[in-house]
């Protein structure tokens, strides 16, 4: 694709992409640390992760401001307009993912005083969710609608995994009431991860809009794009 005649504008758009990537990287790390703090009953890691959420929020504000500035100063059209409006939406989703990581840390802290072994494979679910998030952002940077579509398709896997964990955890609570506190916390974490997958899917849907100019939101996921 040709570059803008106005090089400064080109650089500003590249900077916006870079900010989104940095925010995405930070949020991805937040999910990893939150999950590790839960698995390792690591209160300090959980607290540090919660503390770092303000950096995520800072990116949210900065990216919004950058988008507004670009809209006001350059009156973007077509592809550039879709990039900027997509960025505005992506940053909102990423900020919410950051909040979910904080929620996972809070559940981890709750369980620190009464450690209980994990009854379900939350780390594997967390890895899959992080992969979805990473791929949705890769799709954003590479403007790859096919990769974005594969993220959308992955969401069903996470939904199924959450439903399976829900059934398993309820079963364990029923048979062993001493597990109720831990299992409830794990159930919450499963729900948070499922929500993160939804946000990754939102991002992927917006990437498809950005690349193709076609909205697939609130529709069943198409086989191809």
């Amino acid at each position: 694709m040709a570059l803008h005649t106005d090089r400064r504008y080109e650089e500003e758009l590249a900077h916006l992409r870079q900010l989104i990537l940095e925010m995405g990287g930070l949020v991805e790390r937040q999910i990893g640390d939150a999950t590790a703090s839960l698995v390792g009953s690591d209160r300090q890691l959980a607290e540090r992760t919660i503390e770092r959420d303000h950096e995520v929020n800072r990116y949210d504000v900065d990216i919004d401001e950058e988008c507004l500035r670009l809209l006001a100063l350059h009156q973007p059209a077509a592809r550039d307009l879709r990039l900027i409006t997509t960025s505005l939406k992506i940053t909102t989703d990423l900020e919410r993912v950051g909040d979910m990581a904080v929620n996972i840390c809070e559940r981890a802290i709750d369980l620190c005083d009464t450690p209980a072994p994990l009854q379900v494979d939350l780390p594997r679910m967390a890895d899959t969710v992080r992969k979805m998030l990473r791929e949705s952002l890769d799709a954003f940077v590479r403007e790859d609608a096919d990769l974005a579509l594969s993220v959308c398709k992955e969401d069903d896997t996470i939904d199924a995994l959450h439903a399976q964990m829900f059934t398993e955890l309820i079963g364990r609570m029923t048979t062993d009431p001493s597990l109720v506190v831990a299992s409830t916390a794990h159930l919450f974490v499963s729900k948070y991860l499922e929500r993160i997958a939804d946000h990754a899917t939102n991002i992927a849907e917006m990437v498809i809009f950005m690349v193709k100019g076609k909205s697939i939101r609130h529709l069943s996921v198409p086989a191809s794009i």
């Binding site: 803008h4 005649t5 059209a77």
Partner: protein
């Protein structure tokens, strides 16, 4: 409130329309939904145009709808002004020019030998980049055209002058000094006077060649507001280098490049998701 008024105007226009559709030409086919049911006012069919040996337009086919604003955009030298001037045969005045293909006004070829060019230019008015009022009074500028076309009665002329100046949103600013020289008006007022002068002979189509490019933002906004009002009655075709202006005022946009019509479609589609890479590069500033 605004929505209600718009609906009423839409309904009024719809009554006047036939069910002919405008087909977007070339890859930009986003216009059908917006223009379905709009009657075609101007239609170019396979237009080639030559200045001597130099070909300026290549096979341009484009249909402009009644009571719609069609914007022609593209870099300098792309042929958009040439195309605009063909619609009221202004290029006839340039020696050595030649046209192939057809341009139809209400289905009739305007280049047919039977066509009276003076009458054509009454039906298809034109406003230029630089305001060019006659060095006469404001009143005389507007009354000139109707007089040429035979209106002599003073009361009728008075009425035409007032109605036309109201329609061009100038009446309130000049009603107390109609006898003053038109050259005493500001640039923006002079341009609106030129629009009034074009409207005074009751045209059906208004061609505008960068009508606001020499005006400040406020005067530009007034011209754009005026275009919105005028499209209730007139078919407007506007050439502009100001991309945002094209986006703001037009229903349909045509992108020209090197004498060819690259893409033609609904303005909202062209500016959010054009079909052609060349159009996208131009409107996003990735050009040259």
């Amino acid at each position: 409130m605004g929505r209600g008024l718009a609906n009423t105007a839409d309904e009024r226009r719809r009554d006047q329309r036939t069910t002919t559709s405008i087909q977007a030409d070339g890859p930009g086919r986003g216009g059908e939904a917006q223009t379905a049911g709009v009657r075609v006012k101007i239609e170019a069919r396979g237009v080639d145009f030559f200045y001597g040996a130099t070909q300026a337009l290549y096979g341009v086919s484009l249909a402009a709808g009644t009571c719609q604003v069609t914007a022609l955009i593209g870099p300098s030298g792309c042929g958009k002004s040439t195309f605009l001037r063909l619609i009221n045969r202004m290029n006839d005045l340039i020696p050595g020019t030649r046209l192939q293909g057809e341009i139809l006004l209400d289905g009739e070829d305007i280049y047919d030998s039977k066509v009276d060019v003076v009458d054509l230019r009454r039906r298809v008015g034109m406003v230029f980049q630089r305001s060019n009022p006659f060095p006469k009074s404001i009143y005389e500028n507007v009354a000139y055209g109707p007089r040429v076309h035979g209106v002599r009665d003073k009361a009728t002329l008075d009425e035409i002058v007032e109605t036309t100046l109201r329609r061009s949103a100038l009446w309130e600013e000049v009603k107390d000094r109609l006898g003053s020289s038109a050259l005493s008006l500001s640039g923006g007022q002079q341009q609106r006077l030129c629009i009034a002068r074009a409207l005074a002979v009751e045209p059906e189509v208004l061609l505008m060649d960068e009508p606001a490019s020499a005006l400040d933002p406020l005067a530009t906004a007034k011209i754009e507001e005026l275009i919105h009002e005028l499209k209730e009655r007139y078919t407007i075709i506007i050439v502009t280098h100001n991309m945002q202006q094209a986006a703001r005022v037009s229903d349909m946009t045509a992108y020209f490049y090197l004498g060819r019509l690259v893409e033609y479609g609904a303005t909202a589609k062209i500016f959010t998701n054009p079909s052609c890479q060349e159009t996208e590069d131009y409107i996003t500033g990735r050009f040259g």
